[in-house]
């Protein structure tokens, strides 16, 4: 999961993920690291500030195809959505 350092994830977050993500999904996240990074970068570009927390909770979601991933967020008014997500990461589940 070291590839997450490329998107500035902290060592603590990476260790937390290594401890809690099932092996099969860790392997998949690593093998699909380019896709995962593209999805993370999309959220970074939106100025979402709690991406690491979102990733810890919904890491499997970051394996979505990048265009589908973007579509999940693009359905909404982005400024409003980003504010809401920054206040409460859990709403990502219901987008």
């Amino acid at each position: 999961m070291k590839f997450l350092e490329k998107v500035n994830f902290s060592i603590e977050t990476i260790e937390e993920l290594q401890e809690s993500v099932p092996n099969k999904l860790q392997e998949l996240l690593i093998s699909q690291s380019k896709l995962v990074i593209a999805n993370i970068k999309y959220l970074q570009d939106l100025n979402i500030t709690n991406i690491e927390e979102i990733f810890i909770k919904f890491y499997d979601m970051f394996l979505m195809d990048n265009s589908n991933f973007i579509e999940v967020f693009n359905k909404y008014d982005l400024e409003d959505l980003v504010n809401k997500i920054n206040q409460n990461k859990n709403i990502v589940e219901y987008l």
Binding site: E19, P22, L28
Partner: protein, 279 residues
């Protein structure tokens, strides 16, 4: 061909939850879990009251049935399956069990006043923020203590008077704890054995459960051997100091330990009386 439809049928999500299913489909792919394995896991969890109600919980199925079985049985043995009912995704992290055991060992509350489990248990980051980077494996290793071996401690023949002159702000028990250990003779070892078993009883009365026994921590052992080797006269006081010194306990908690010590000594003397009478 992927077997999503049948898997989704087993999971039986509500219509509202199905709306978010597309985001969490990867964990249901055949590369991750077969239909048979998913059904087996789902039914086992359900039988234990653990219901998968949200697609974001699909990640559980990336764990093997054996892994899940082992984790759930461990929680059951600690009577803490509620923690998994509260959030089934906690199953994916085996290390949380070590943190729970650490909490139990230290007598820390596992739940908040609202009945929910404290998050520190289920997150390495949160745990380490509060308690530091603790080697849980060595902390939780059953402690064995050989009082004879403790003679290997630095052996300086210090009298209590000497200790006092070096530690003027401490009472005599504290002074002994803060000094190097003196050699333990046979009487001291006997006294240590007795008080060690009492310490074990006190700790288990306070923090133990039917399924999880608390062992005496190293520092308590060290305090005990120092105090018994120095032949301090009040056994209750030895036990109290051994258990509480340097622990920064509140008045209430210290009083609670004091009461347990009294209780154990009272029971012991009653037992001795009965034995004498029967003779």
């Amino acid at each position: 061909m992927e077997n999503f439809a049948n898997k989704i049928q087993i999971l039986n999500y509500s219509d509202k939850e199905k709306m978010s299913l597309n985001k969490f489909m990867t964990s249901l792919s055949d590369d991750i879990v077969s239909y048979e394995e998913l059904e087996k896991i789902y039914n086992y969890l359900k039988a234990n009251g653990i219901n998968i109600t949200k697609p974001s919980q699909n990640k559980i199925f990336a764990c093997s049935y054996d892994f899940i079985f082992e984790v759930v049985e461990e929680y059951k043995s600690m009577s803490l399956v509620n923690a998994l009912i509260e959030d089934p995704t906690r199953i994916t992290c085996k290390n949380s069990i070590k943190r729970i055991k650490y909490f139990q060992l230290k007598g820390l509350p596992l739940t908040k006043p609202n009945g929910k489990f404290v998050k520190d248990i289920f997150s390495k980051t949160l745990f380490e923020k509060t308690y530091g980077n603790i080697d849980l494996d060595s902390e939780l290793k059953p402690k064995e203590f050989d009082p004879l071996a403790s003679n290997e401690y630095k052996q300086e023949d210090k009298t209590i008077t000497n200790l006092f002159s070096e530690n003027k702000n401490l009472d005599e028990y504290e002074a002994v704890i803060n000094a190097p250990q003196v050699p333990a003779d046979d009487d001291a070892i006997k006294s240590f054995d007795k008080l060690y078993s009492y310490a074990e009883k006190v700790l288990n009365k306070l923090y133990g459960t039917d399924n999880s026994k608390v062992s005496v921590p190293d520092n308590v052992c060290t305090n005990l051997i120092k105090l018994t080797a120095q032949k301090m006269d009040d056994e209750k006081k030895i036990l109290l100091y051994a258990l509480t010194y340097g622990k920064h306990l509140g008045e209430e908690e210290e009083q609670f330990i004091k009461n347990k010590i009294d209780e154990i000594f009272d029971n012991d003397s009653e037992f001795g009386q009965i034995e004498l009478e029967s003779i």
